[in-house]
Amino acid sequence: MLNVRNLSVGVDGKAILRNLNLDVRAGEVHAVMGPNGSGKSTLAQALAGHPAYTVTGGEVTYLGRDLLAMPPEERARAGLFLAFQYPIEIAGVSNAAFLKAAINEMRAARGQEELDAMEMLEVLEKKLALVDMDRSFLSRPVNEGFSGGEKKRNEILQMAVLEPKLAILDETDSGLDIDALKIVAQGVNSLRRPDNAIILVTHYQRILNYVEPDRVHVLFDGRIVKSAGKELALELERKGYDWIKEQPAPVQPAA
């Protein structure tokens, strides 16, 4: 589904990712872990096409298409979803209006008809339950006045509603209490299907207690330095990140 080859990305002229390689297949959940400043968020933002992140080298193929050639809205319409680490506020625009616009853009991209207000409400009601939100959530302006936990749940709601093919969650688990964490995990698990994939970018192992990853990657200094099964996360939890720094970088990642 996603093949990242030798991806290099810089911000403001500073190199962050260096020749990063990653392969994600349909049906898989990948955890990308690493210490602060290792380039985790840069990877997430670059895959989504944030204009501040400049790709300086490498290739990314997504569902057989050249991802890097696609503008951000095209990537979104092709089913790539980014749950933001810091969700953005939009004053005066209700969650419902925002979701409606997003859903209809996605539907249009798939050649489907727009949903009317009633059909929309039906879809939204179902998904609200999933993230333990009530209807009043829909009439509030997007992320404005939301608590940290509410913002993260709102990201998961959007993800659940838009049903992406590839969801990238950028530290969605950080700053959440245990109840909110369970809700987020439940949202992620409900999306887990043989035909889509999830990349969990996270600093901590604890969300992996609720969402079991197929692969765990450790990002350090702009490269993936270690990839293994879920047991790697536990090892990181026990030993911290320091021992990783001593590891030699792999020439080619496990595909």
Binding site: P72, R75, A76, I88, I90, G92, A101, A102
Partner: protein, 486 residues
């Protein structure tokens, strides 16, 4: 310049759908202004003597102002000097015979023009729940639902008719809120105004439909000087809306209107404007100079006047819809969205003059600047010494699209007693790259993202518009910002 800024610049270039010219034979006075022109206008309208005398006094006052200092210079706008002798002060569609007794007799080309503008006047197509007075250049050409309103004692129609049929009301209220000495353009308007709408709501009557005037400038080189007068008697209610468009022309045209509202005890007047005069092209050629004086008086206790304006057109907008809060417990409100794109300039705001006790006012102003547009909020809140316990809340927000536009705020607050409270909040923001990226990551195009963010910014104002027009205004902003991308 970042990509998103470039996109915003492109979005600020706008298509104007209402820029066509109707080929209609007109009865036009030659350009120029003197006492003979004023006598000619008054004679054409067969006005009673008091009107002519009032016009002449206004003209003499205006001439004095013009000789002394000319037009006011304090506004934050720049434009070449206006030659008032080159303007045509009267242009009316030629009438067959005595003038239309019913809509069937109105020139079909006129009906067609208004239909094209989305304001159908033909009986079978009337907008449900909205009575319309259509003003074309200098005169009112048709008013719908007049008879139905008359059953309730409501007078709604052209100003000219009111002068003929209700001279006592006109004489009593004309100039009572905006005297001809008020300012340069008010004096000019008082001297040469040719038509406009008149509305009278009798005591205790709640007007069952929206009243609306649609202003259309068509003739070249002509100015439009209309006058609107609304009187709401004790305990009555009326909601009123005006819309305006003009053809695209390379030269500037002057629009200098006066609107006076009088709300008696417990009466309520809601006045909404969707102003979409031609704004000029991307280089700032052409467009309407919109120099307008609008003021309402809460004459009685607990009267209420609300101004809601959506200003998207005109090369230059200069207007300050104001409320004189004379009656105790009266309420004044001003909700405004002003959009300046390309080279448009707007200097707009309000005056809330608190005279009565326990008077309250609210000001919500949303300025949006794009392209090389320049947007100024100018507002005065004056609480007189006897206006005990008066309250004002003011909020001024500016949104900048791109990096070549300007936003300015000039709030004046004068509080004359210790029991009153005036609050002022202001903010300036940009559509951030982060907001745009967030929307795009959810699949929205740049156009839709900007439009959504701008509409969200204006929400507090739009919610005060009558339902049908809120939808129109939302669309208008969408249309104003879309177009030339890609």
């Amino acid at each position: 310049m970042s990509t998103s800024q470039k996109t915003l610049e492109a979005l600020a270039n706008r298509d104007y759908k209402w820029g066509f010219v109707s080929d209609i034979e007109a009865d036009t006075l030659p350009p120029g202004l003197n006492e003979d022109v004023i006598r000619a206008i008054s004679a054409k309208k067969a006005e009673p003597e008091f009107m002519l005398q009032w016009r002449l006094k206004a003209y003499r006052h205006w001439s004095k102002l013009e000789r002394a200092a000319g037009e006011p210079k304090w506004a934050n706008v720049t434009y070449p000097p206006i030659d008032y002798q080159k303007i045509v002060y009267y242009s009316a569609p030629k009438r067959q015979g005595e003038g239309p007794a019913s809509l069937d007799e109105v020139d079909p080309k006129l009906l067609e023009t208004f239909e094209k503008l989305g304001v159908p006047l033909a009986e079978r197509k009337l907008l449900a729940g909205v009575a319309v007075d259509a003003v074309f250049d200098s005169v009112s050409v048709a008013t719908t639902f007049k008879d139905k309103l008359a059953e309730l004692g409501i007078i709604f129609g052209s100003f000219s008719e009111a002068v003929q049929n209700h001279p006592e009301l006109v004489q009593k209220y004309l100039g009572s809120v905006v005297p001809y000495t008020d300012n340069f353009y008010a004096a000019l308007n008082s001297a040469v105004f040719t038509d406009g709408s008149f509305c009278y709501i009798p005591k205790g009557v709640r007007c069952p439909m929206e009243l609306s005037t649609y202003f259309r400038i068509n003739a070249a080189k002509s100015g439009q000087f209309e006058r609107t007068l609304i009187v709401a008697e004790e305990g009555s209610y009326v909601s009123y809306l005006e819309g305006c468009t003009a053809p695209m022309r390379d030269e500037n045209q002057l629009h200098a209107a006066v609107v006076e509202l009088i709300a008696h005890e417990r009466a309520q007047i809601k006045y909404s404007t969707v102003q979409n005069w031609y704004a000029g092209d991307a280089e700032g050629r052409g467009g309407i100079f919109n120099f307008v004086t609008k003021r309402g008086k809460c004459a009685g206790r607990a009267a209420r006047i609300s101004w809601t304006q959506v200003e998207t057109g005109s090369a230059i907008t200069w207007k300050y819809p104001s409320v004189i809060l004379q009656g105790d417990d009266s309420v004044g409100e001003f909700y405004s969205v002003a959009l300046t794109a390309n080279r448009q300039q707007a200097d707009t705001g309000t005056k809330m003059l608190h005279i009565g006790k326990n008077t309250r006012s609210t000001i919500i102003s949303k300025g949006i600047s794009a392209g090389r547009g320049n947007n100024t909020y100018r507002g005065l809140v004056r609480i007189s010494p006897r206006a005990a316990n008066a309250r004002n809340y003011t909020q001024c927000d500016s949104l900048l699209l791109g990096d070549r536009c300007g936003a300015h705020t000039f709030p004046y607050i004068e509080v004359g007693n210790a029991s009153s409270v005036a609050e002022h909040e202001a903010s300036t923001s940009k559509i951030s790259d982060e907001q745009l990226f967030y929307c795009k990551q959810r699949g929205l195009s740049t156009e839709n993202a900007v439009s959504m963010i701008v509409n969200g910014f204006c929400k507090e104002v739009f919610k005060n518009l009558p339902m049908e027009f809120a939808v129109e205004a939302t669309k208008l902003l969408g249309v104003s910002l879309e177009g030339s991308i890609g």
